[in-house]
């Protein structure tokens, strides 16, 4: 029997900031909040499939501990007792870490990632692990070995990827907070197509220790939420220097929560905003372009000084990305060889280690992962390195220079987060290049390592699906994203008479 039930009602309808306030005042308990979300997960999962693993017992135990700490007057952080959905690419000692791959089915890491350790230290309650494209390679979550996730706005649509599970969990009100990882847009693009907020912090701003690497020089964990303030609260919990990650920046986390609160006052006078000329035009869905233009007009209305800026080398970003990321992945994924952990196939006593490795990798990896391993192996091969990998790294230099020049003129850059709204499940699976285009706007920030955010900017007039506004800031100026994002969000909600996310259709859910 099915019936409709709103996810956005009761405890599950609240933002993390609101939950934190109720927990603080004693109006509710972490156990109550956690149970409400576990119930919502049970109801929504058949339609959404955002989770690969739900850790009900562990979550309730963590919630009880958070309640006890609070009762004893030592709440670990403002987010103590607030639930969260974790992308299944960060290691956890009490849940499997599969990365959406058969290769790691049921694998439990003997150590916690730094992000998870910080979450636990802050008293955040981890509900479970969310679905993703296998090893974070994809833009639709269709590359998961465990089946696709459905977009709560329209369940025949993709929720974006690779972090579609985390974004869908937010949009389906299964969790108020989530963690994603962004290599070429895997936080921002799912955020855009599900009407949620996603932030890729400055590369080095959040530790990668325990993040199963796809492309080491690009990967960056970050916060996902339904509001800019919630993302900021989570950002401060997970950010900061980590001596276990050599590429982690030894500086304090930028003051993102203060910036989000300041921005919410809605005043952007004195802020210079640059519209990137190259991230528009052919290939951009008219409804997306229109929503973006309206958002830019709202920024002007808030007092921002808006100018057009040119970043000519962004045209080469996609090419550079699809050389660098596969190259690094071909090396990072070499460790999945059936010798020490994970899947082993074909070990019949007669076959050699070499044969067992090849058979296991052949059957354990999905087609997209294999395609990228092959592409990366090619790009790094002697004779091709200079023309491909070497050139791609030079493009990276040029893109960084474009950003530097642009940030001389403006404080932040803006663009649509994605060229189109969520496409239909199955629509692009056989056409890798068209799939890759989904990350056209997000990739430059990964290549340069600067900070970027996607914040919902209305629904596309042509299909009624969410559109994302991308805001980009210089490295370690993540606070600018939050100031501008929060100001825009407040103006949008005021104009719309409510939060965009509350317009998500009610799911057909099991009762």
């Amino acid at each position: 029997m099915t019936t409709t039930a709103s996810g956005g009602s009761g405890l599950t309808g609240l933002t993390a900031a609101e939950l934190a306030e109720k927990l603080q005042s004693g109006a509710t308990s972490a156990v109550e909040v956690t149970q409400a979300h576990l119930d919502r997960i049970s109801a929504a999962e058949p339609a959404v499939h955002a989770f690969l693993h739900v850790a009900a017992d562990e979550a309730l135990a963590a919630a009880r501990a958070a309640d006890e700490d609070r009762a004893a007057g030592r709440a670990a952080s403002p987010l103590a007792g607030v639930p969260l959905a974790l992308k299944d690419v960060l290691t956890t000692t009490d849940m499997p870490t599969t990365c959406g791959s058969r290769m790691l089915q049921d694998w439990v890491a003997p150590y916690d990632s730094t992000v998870v350790r910080k979450l636990r230290d802050a008293g955040v309650v981890v509900l479970g692990k969310t679905n993703m494209d296998e090893f974070a390679m994809g833009s639709s979550t269709e590359n998961s070995a465990y089946g696709p996730t459905h977009n709560p706005w329209s369940t025949d649509r993709i929720p974006g990827g690779s972090g579609g599970g985390s974004a869908a969990a937010l949009a389906a009100f299964e969790a108020p907070l989530a963690i994603g990882t962004d290599t070429g847009g895997s936080i921002r693009q799912p955020g855009a197509v599900t009407g949620t907020v996603g932030v890729k912090p400055t590369y080095g701003g959040v530790s990668r220790y325990g993040l199963v690497a796809f492309s080491s020089s690009l990967d960056q964990p970050g916060p996902c939420a339904r509001t800019v303030l919630d993302a900021a609260l989570l950002h401060e919990v997970i950010g900061g220097h980590d001596e276990r990650d050599s590429t982690s920046i030894a500086q304090p986390v930028p003051p993102v929560v203060a910036a989000a609160r300041e921005g919410a006052s809605g005043d952007l006078r004195g802020v210079r905003v640059g519209v990137v000329r190259e991230l528009a035009g052919e290939g951009y869905q008219p409804g997306v372009q229109a929503s973006f233009d309206a958002a830019v007009a709202q920024l002007t209305g808030l007092g921002a000084e808006v100018v057009e800026v040119s970043c000519p080398n962004f045209d080469y970003a996609l090419g550079a990305y699809y050389l660098i990321a596969p190259s690094e992945c071909s090396s990072n994924l070499a460790r999945f060889d059936a010798m020490r952990y994970g899947l082993r196939e074909g070990d019949d006593g007669a076959r050699s280690a070499e044969e067992v490795m090849s058979l296991t990798r052949e059957s354990g990896f999905g087609p997209e992962v294999k395609r990228r391993i092959m592409l990366g192996t090619y790009a790094l091969s002697s004779g091709y390195y200079d023309a491909y990998y070497g050139q791609a790294q030079k493009v990276r230099t040029l893109i960084s220079r474009d950003f530097s020049a642009a940030f001389q003129q403006v404080d932040v850059l803006v663009s649509p987060t994605t060229p189109t709204t969520a496409f239909r499940i199955g629509e692009r699976v056989d056409d890798p290049m068209s799939m890759y285009l989904a990350d056209l706007c997000t990739i430059p920030s990964n290549l340069a390592g600067n900070a970027a955010m996607s914040v919902p900017c209305g629904l596309s007039a042509d299909d009624g699906l969410p559109v994302g506004l991308q805001i980009m800031a210089p490295a370690m100026a993540d606070d600018r994203l939050y100031r501008v994002g929060a100001a825009y969000e407040a103006a949008r909600d005021a104009a719309d008479g409510g939060a965009l996310i509350n317009r998500v259709p009610q799911l057909e859910v099991a009762q």
Partner: protein, 99 residues
């Protein structure tokens, strides 16, 4: 015209330790061709005087003090092993000799 041959795909699969099927050889040859043609544009812009960027953050000299930290307990080390014997990881016979 195809840039990447079936044989080349087979060679790459060998380097990458993937026991690809005959059908996959054709599929990958076709798809890699399309992707490579598209990404090859990176060759258009970058001249010799442009230094490559390998790391987005310009940090150098990150070192760890030479101090012992606890290793993992051995039962945890071997817990995830597909096979273990004599407190070691058991693997099929190794053909290639390597240094």
């Amino acid at each position: 015209m195809s840039k990447i041959s079936r044989d080349e795909v087979a060679h790459l699969a060998g380097l990458a330790r993937l026991a690809v099927t005959e059908a996959e050889l054709d599929t990958f040859a076709g798809q890699l061709d399309v992707i490579l043609e598209s990404v090859a544009r990176v060759g258009e812009v970058a001249a010799d005087d442009i230094p490559p960027t390998s790391h987005a953050v310009p940090v150098t000299n990150v070192f760890r003090p030479d101090e012992v930290r606890p290793s993992l307990p051995r039962d945890q080390v071997l817990a995830g092993a597909p096979a273990a014997e004599q407190e070691r990881f058991r693997v099929p016979r190794i053909l290639n000799q390597e240094g």
